[in-house]
Subunit: 164 residues, 4 copies
């Protein structure tokens, strides 16, 4: 069965606004990235929102949770800003036991030459196919259970932490 | 423990020779790709050869097999040209039972803007961490056991085939 | 008045054929390059042929000459493979005295990340607007009159030579 | 004689700060861009400052003017943010009569895949070699005298305006 891919925005999808000289959201690049990866796994993409994860509200997170719960697919990839990825992972992890959900994102926007986005998307789709039920964060080749991950903001990377 | 990454060349690593106007091999781009993906999984890279897989000899394949067998790591990613990836996968699959080996490659050289290489490398590293022992081909988001994969040359993609 | 841009192929426009694993011609990338440069000079593009300049025939060169002569524009940019750029420049230079024609190309295909194509196209359009009547080769920031240029094949660059 | 290339920052040179998730200045990319264009014109690069042109002070502009006046080269390219490019051009245009100075920049940072920077740099170097003495703004294939250019901020492009 297909993998569901929910888009929520994040660095992944930031564009450069050449009129205003700043980063902003327009459309998701996920379809373009799947095409570039010549992805042959069936993936059903749905954009839930396009937000910076620092501005993601409780209401936004509830929308994400509802969609993960109620979609027919058992395997889900969720693109998400890195700043609060662990917060959303925790909410989902406590509520979802019967599906495999993999959160991923990027440290650098996909449209920048130096983005890690395509690498992360490739690994997230692989983890989503092979991991057991549960909620995970997949970034930069690694994968963490939802209750054992923390973003090290100073270093700009995700690390394992003691489980609760 | 670290993942071992053996490089054998293939489309992945082809460069454009601007003097002669043709594709050729210089050095592998794997280290550069791991840096771009900001890969945080420990990966030990070793270049075994830099060949087009159409020109890979039996002797070359024996070198690959020996290296997979004798390296201390249990989890191995092998970059390989797509044209004979299934041949090497079969040789390794029949001989290696106690390690996880994932072959990957690219349909388009990494140095081309339109390459699937970074996506494939991300997914291969994820599959190598999560799959059980055995030999697999990971291309374009999918993963096949060594005895159930065939390259559809007309379409330029890998497909599942009946197991032997 | 607009600049006429004639496309003849060359390294500029080579694509990677992922089925056959080799370089080939499909469509020109010139329109995409003008869009990327956000080019605001009116440019009228016409593809005359899509050939490797090593395979350009006398007949092909006559077509190029006819088109340069008979188009209404006074200022022309011509994209061309680098291997025989000086041959075509000579033919045009001896025949065209009343227009400004600038030949340009690339050492590396535009679709490769490392291409000089966009830089060359930007400079060729500038030279075409500012140079007097005559035929010129514009490559890698430099501009040569048709009768004083030679490609140094070993070094992969264009050099000035003694005029005839 | 060589072309002098003064760097002042601007969109051209903005990088993505992956720790803070915003654009910033580190080093100039001009040398990398000249290498990508395989530029064969002798160019002497000097970084005067790395600022957003909205934050360029009168003192900064005086430094630019002094450097243009006192460098030994007769032909100068100046990279500059687009927001106040016309202000600096006016200051230079009123003061410099005996050299050719070409201001250029980019609507999108060079490090973004969609940047016009390489195209603009190629054309600026060509204009600097062929235009007579005076101060010009070269953007997106066009070139304007310093006293007849205005940035249309709503459209994100440079236009000709009535001379004073």
């Amino acid at each position: 069965m297909a993998i569901k891919l929910f888009v929520t925005g994040g660095t992944f999808d930031k564009e450069y606004d050449e009129i205003r000289g700043r980063l902003y959201f327009k459309d998701t690049h996920v379809q373009e990235m799947l095409a570039l990866g010549r992805c042959r796994v069936p993936v059903v993409v749905r954009t839930l929102m396009m937000v910076d994860s620092l501005e993601m509200s409780d209401q936004d997170r509830r929308i994400i949770l509802d969609n993960c719960r109620h979609c027919p697919q058992q395997r889900i990839v969720l693109t998400h800003g890195t700043d609060t990825m662990e917060v959303t992972a925790r909410l989902l992890g406590e509520a979802i036991r019967d599906k495999t959900v993999v959160l991923t994102g990027a440290m650098v926007p996909y449209k920048f030459g130096s983005s890690d986005g395509l690498f992360n998307l490739g690994s997230a789709l692989a983890f989503a196919q092979t991991l057991p039920r549960g909620v995970f964060v997949a970034m930069n080749g690694r994968c963490f259970p939802w209750d054992r991950v923390v973003k090290n903001r100073a270093a700009g990377l995700f690390e394992e932490r003691e489980g609760k």
